[in-house]
């Protein structure tokens, strides 16, 4: 039964309740704007339900088990058993605590919550279709709209996420048992994080990657530390190969574009191809496809609002997070790279404040990024090459964690902190950190970049002993030729 179409109005309409959208909605409401947030699936979006949060929960649990099982050198003898269903339940509990929190925070800040799928009727209203078929719809008129519909995993030909042995990252985070053999397609950050988790859970993990190294986009010496550790966990890498198809073991008929269906659990064979057409085959139980994500706009009827996506499917915005259409903003993954939760939240805040009449803008100098592999990677701002390209004469300092007292006492001392600065002025331009707590350490350097701090500022700031953050100070000192705990070049 279709319920009659009711029309209501709102000052600010936010579409999508991921970290881009819900943050925008809360901030808009904090500024006294009448705000409505429409979400079709789950509060918190990809990040809380199928991305950042569940993956990090699994990483923690896998670490606890793995660390204890590998601490004989510390005098600790344990043989932990992992019950994946128990791990999943814990993770689900964390997720629901956080998604429940998002809902509560929205309400407490006065955001109106609407469940359903929004699509544009024109440039000042949307239709919201509720729940399943026949659940009715309503029209919402808005003065300002923030599109925050996020992204979804890319599919590749012949690998349909609907088929049971083919996993998206989301599927991988809700398996009921640890597969014996997992083939991971894609050595980007999501592929690498999940490969590490499953390798630590004693799964035999093989990674195939089209490009010629793990973690494309990261500098060689950074990626190398993570790759080496992964190999130490038993992960096997195969570069320069693209996954081209799969079939069930014992199934003589090659499976392809026609689609695949698994009945038995007796394994699959995945075929890959090099650029020259050379084929390889890999036995596995599951194949995880983690080759990237694409923006979600197909549910929106963009054309009705006069919106267009660019050639990569993103909505383009200016430094106020506004699209080409007056009063319509886009934030988060749907608004382009980097597809990171905190980038989306920042855009959400700026969009909300711009709407509220504040002098807000996307004027940040640097967006930090982290990879939660073992060890972690944290980067922000410019690499040495990028600094050169931008016209700086870079001064670079490095500090290895094996010279850090704190790193040694944590039992985890591979990796380094590298700081990139402008030689003339000393202004800090960037950092590449690989090692323990790299995701946290990058925060200090980000503040340094935003503040226009110099190497001397970082070096002169007292850092607690013994902490990993001392490595940031020492890297800055090294760039000045004055490190204490490492030799200066």
């Amino acid at each position: 039964m279709v319920v009659g179409d009711v029309t209501t109005g709102t000052e600010v309409l936010v579409i999508g309740a991921g970290p881009g959208g819900y943050v925008a909605a809360i901030r808009a409401a904090q500024h006294g704007l009448d705000t409505t947030l429409v979400e079709k699936e789950a509060y918190g979006g990809t990040c809380l339900n199928h991305g950042c949060i569940p993956s990090k929960a699994y990483i923690t649990a896998a670490d606890v088990a793995h660390d204890a099982g590998n601490a004989e050198h510390m005098g600790i003898h344990a043989d932990p058993a992992v019950d994946l269903m128990g791990m999943r339940e814990w993770k689900d509990g964390v997720v629901s605590q956080l998604t429940g929190g998002v809902e509560k925070l929205c309400k407490a800040n006065g955001v109106n919550l609407v469940e359903g799928t929004a699509s544009f009727k024109d440039e000042s209203s949307v239709r919201v279709a509720h729940g399943g078929e026949g659940q009715g719809s309503e029209t919402l008129e808005f003065e300002h709209c923030i599109v925050a519909t996020g992204s979804r995993p890319l599919q590749i030909p012949n690998f349909d996420f609907g088929d049971e042995p083919v996993l998206s990252s989301r599927d991988a985070l809700s398996l009921e048992t640890v597969p014996d053999r997992l083939l991971v397609v894609g050595a980007g950050y999501i592929g690498m994080e999940l490969s590490t988790v499953f390798a630590k859970l004693d799964c035999e993990v093989t990674v195939v990657e089209m490009l010629d190294d793990a973690l494309p986009g990261y500098e060689d010496d950074v990626a190398r530390v993570v790759k080496k550790r992964a190999e130490g966990l038993g992960v096997e890498f195969n570069f320069g190969e693209a996954a081209s198809g799969w079939q069930e073991t014992g199934d003589s008929e090659a499976q392809g574009a026609s689609g695949n269906r698994t009945q038995s659990g007796d394994g699959i064979v995945v075929t890959t191809e090099t650029e020259d057409g050379e084929e390889s085959e890999y036995d596995a139980d599951k194949v995880l496809v983690a080759v990237g994500r694409q923006p979600v706009t197909d549910t929106l009827d963009l054309e009705n609002a006069g919106l267009e996506t660019n050639e990569n499917g993103f909505l383009e915005t200016d430094e106020r997070a506004e699209t080409d259409v007056d009063g319509i903003y886009a934030v988060g993954d749907v608004a382009g790279e980097p597809m990171l939760a905190h980038k989306g939240s920042k855009e959400g805040i700026v969009a909300a404040e711009v709407i509220a009449g504040e002098p807000a803008a996307l004027d940040y100098q640097a967006i930090p990024a982290a990879v939660f592999t073992d060890p972690e990677i944290g980067t922000v701002g410019m690499t040495e090459a990028e600094a050169e390209e931008a016209g700086f004469e870079p001064a670079v300092g490095k500090f290895p964690f094996n010279a850090s007292g704190r790193a040694l006492t944590t039992g985890d001392s591979e990796g380094f902190v590298r700081i990139v600065a402008d030689d003339g002025t000393g202004f800090v331009l960037g950092a590449q950190i690989v090692g323990p707590e790299a995701s946290e350490l990058v925060a200090e350097v980000t503040l340094a970049i935003e503040m226009g701090a110099t190497l001397e500022d970082l070096a002169a700031t007292i850092h607690t002993h013994p902490t990993l953050s001392e490595a940031v100070m020492e890297a800055a000192e090294n760039a000045m030729g004055e490190a204490i705990h490492t030799l200066n070049r």
Binding site: H31, G32, G357, E358, F427, G452
Partner: protein, 90 residues
């Protein structure tokens, strides 16, 4: 004088100084910084705002101009309500 901006379109100034520049309609990229290395302080922004009002109101990086410093003139577009009742939500 040495400018702190230029390279890669960077302005070396704290976020609070950058925001103040937008609030006062100052193009922070053209402000002489008095801090170390030419870092632009809030004080520099204020004196630039007082010192030459005409350059401050010049269009400072309109939409789509992402080559230059990301300073955007505060236009107060479509302001519905201003700050001050941030706490009312609780």
């Amino acid at each position: 004088t040495e400018q702190s901006s230029g390279k890669g379109g960077r302005v070396f100034a704290a976020p609070s100084a950058r925001r103040l520049a937008r609030e006062l309609g100052v193009d922070i990229g053209s402000v002489d910084g008095s801090g170390p290395g030419g870092r632009v302080t809030e004080g520099d922004v204020r004196s630039a705002a007082e010192g030459d009002a005409e350059s401050a109101t010049a269009d400072a990086g309109g939409a789509g101009d992402d080559a230059g410093p990301r300073s955007v003139e505060f236009s107060g577009k479509s302001a519905t309500k201003r700050k001050g009742d941030a706490e009312q939500a609780t």
